[in-house]
Amino acid sequence: MSVITVNEAIAQALAEEMRRDARVLMFGEGVATKRPELLAEFGEARVRNTPLAEAIIAGTAVGAAATGLRPVVDLLFAPFLCYAMDALVNSAGKLRYLSGGQFDFPLVAIAMSGSGWGVGAQHNHNVEAWFAHSPGLKVVMPSSAADFKGLLKSAIRDDNPVLFFVDIGLLYHSGEVPDDEALVPIGEAAVLRRGQDATLVSYAKTVPVCLQAAEALAASGISAEVIDLRTIKPLDAATVLASARRTGRVVVVHEASASCGVGAELAALVAEHAFDSLKAPVQRLTGPDVPAPASFALEQAYVPRPEEVVAAVRRVANPQCSAA
């Protein structure tokens, strides 16, 4: 075990996978400038700067993936994915199917998002749900250094296109990371805290928020289970449903807006498959459906806070809410 930041975890995963597999290469705007250690170890062919052109960065990754390479592209901030949608959604997600299975697309597209840097809505828009709503893609969004490392490694080894979202607010969080291989499988949620009275389901920066809330709730005698999805597509419904059936009370928390978000999918799954165990309405606590503001004061108000999570759990834990 060693304690490193999320940023270091990402760097380690990239270096280890490039060392392991010569087909892995990485490119994007400033990749070679910002990752001199990778450039030094793997050379200019495998670590490349690109022109400022997200559509061709993504398209090049898709074309390369289909023909034998395993590209990782850094697309910087999630809103810039708007320029790369055709390659990711129409090509990477669909051409395997439309070709009758003739091609695989082993690629990873990395993008940052989330509040914390006061950069506003054109740099901060949590769009992971878009890709969960698109066929043929996988979507990962970890919360801890160990998961960033283990999931990025798994994403690079996966034979499918993986969107790897980095919550800016977590980049400099530190955490323990195993010194061995430390792969984390795509598609498995993690139960970070056991509890009986309510289930908190979250991912990315709101996971620590939920853990704080659970701590506070414990103090007042409410035991909340905390689930970190880690992967958004494929979603680990089994883990969420098992917990929901035990606690009967579910609160979903994320920074992305509610409408057609990951929380909507989770609430729908619970309402359909754990209905008979539910003792209270499924609650969603999410960022507001507004563009992310730059002002520090407003950006702070954008992200769900521990007190709000506590309040949401109290609402559902209150017997009056019980349907029984």
């Binding site: 559509a55 061709i56 090049t60 074309g63 390369a64 390479l69 070709s99 299975g101």
Partner: protein
């Protein structure tokens, strides 16, 4: 592994063009008769397709678009499996999942066909990067239209290919139409090849209705690319004689322009040259036509006999 036709003799070039023409007309007729969704034909553009593909080598890879029948057939695709694909049948090259718009045939090196205009341009750079980094022989030929040359991805793809010196032959099939919009309404100037200079890339326009000229221009271009000269933009100047898709009454098409191009039909030009220069007779052409008609009849019968994919196929081939 299908075998590639050797298109080095003039009559072989003609036969390939006749096959494409017959194939597309048969499907057009079929969709008119059956009312089934029709494909996008390239009638009048056969020389542009055959001239380029005939100059490619076995290891070369091709990316194409929605108007791809000519490229595929010239490369040796089986018209029967293509028709089956167009009809959505299980023996189609893509199990019927593609239909006419995104047919790719990996075993022939026809990879990643996209019907998103410009999609092939976004993918070609990556395919070429694989060729280079994995030390494979073979360059990449990327077919796209004059309309695609208006998409931003054209700019990004050509620029990256130039900066990274990727072995790509960009083939712009300028057929003067972009669905229902004339090329004239979408750009100043007549040619796309002139845009190559902006990327420090050679750009050449060739008469796309002269199969020998297209073949020669392609050989020159590919030689330059194989010599490590980096990417090259070749524009084949031609004309879409039928509508955008089938059926299409072409009410929006200027008759004078259409007639002028009909008089430059690439197949008629090739036949005239074979008569003048190789002493071909009408009898020779008749035999050729008969042989092709038979192939197309057999292909059509094969496609019609091919079963629909099983409903279970709906859920397969999504993830690797």
């Amino acid at each position: 592994m299908s075998e590639y036709p050797s298109l080095d003799r003039p009559e072989a070039l003609l036969e390939a063009m006749l096959l494409i023409r017959a194939y597309e007309l048969r499907l057009a007729e079929h969709s008119a008769r059956s009312g089934t969704p029709g494909s996008c034909t390239a009638v009048g553009q056969e020389a542009a397709a055959v001239g380029v593909v005939s100059a490619l080598e076995r290891d070369d890879l091709i990316l194409t678009n929605h108007r791809s029948a000519g490229h595929l057939l010239a490369r040796g695709a089986d018209p029967g499996r293509m028709m089956a694909e167009v009809m959505g049948r299980s023996h189609g090259y893509c199990k019927g999942k593609s239909g006419s718009l995104h047919i790719s045939v990996r075993e022939l090196g026809v990879v990643l066909t996209s019907t998103i205009v410009g999609g092939e341009l976004s993918l070609a750079t990556g395919v070429a990067l694989s060729q280079t980094m994995l030390g494979r022989p073979g360059i990449v030929a990327c077919f796209f239209g004059d309309g695609a040359a208006g998409e931003g991805i054209f700019h990004e793809s050509l620029n990256l290919a130039a900066v990274w010196k990727l072995p790509i032959l960009f083939v712009c099939e300028n057929n003067q139409w972009q669905a229902f919009v004339h090329r004239r309404e979408t750009m100043l100037g007549e040619h796309v090849a002139t845009r190559a200079a902006a990327y420090g890339m050679p750009g050449v326009t060739v008469d796309g209705n002269d199969v020998d000229a297209v073949r020669a221009a392609t050989l020159a271009a590919t030689a330059a690319i194989r010599d490590g000269g980096g990417p090259y933009l070749l524009e084949t100047s031609t004309y879409r004689l039928r509508g955008h898709g089938e059926p299409d009454d072409q009410a929006y098409v200027d008759r004078t322009e259409l007639t002028a191009w009909q008089q430059r039909d690439p197949i008629a030009l090739a036949k005239a040259r074979l008569r003048a220069e190789q002493g071909f007779t009408f009898g020779d052409f008749a035999r050729l036509d008969a042989r092709i008609a038979a192939r197309i009849d057999a292909a059509f019968a094969f496609a019609q006999a091919s079963p629909w994919p099983d409903a279970s196929e709906l859920l397969t081939d999504v993830y690797a």
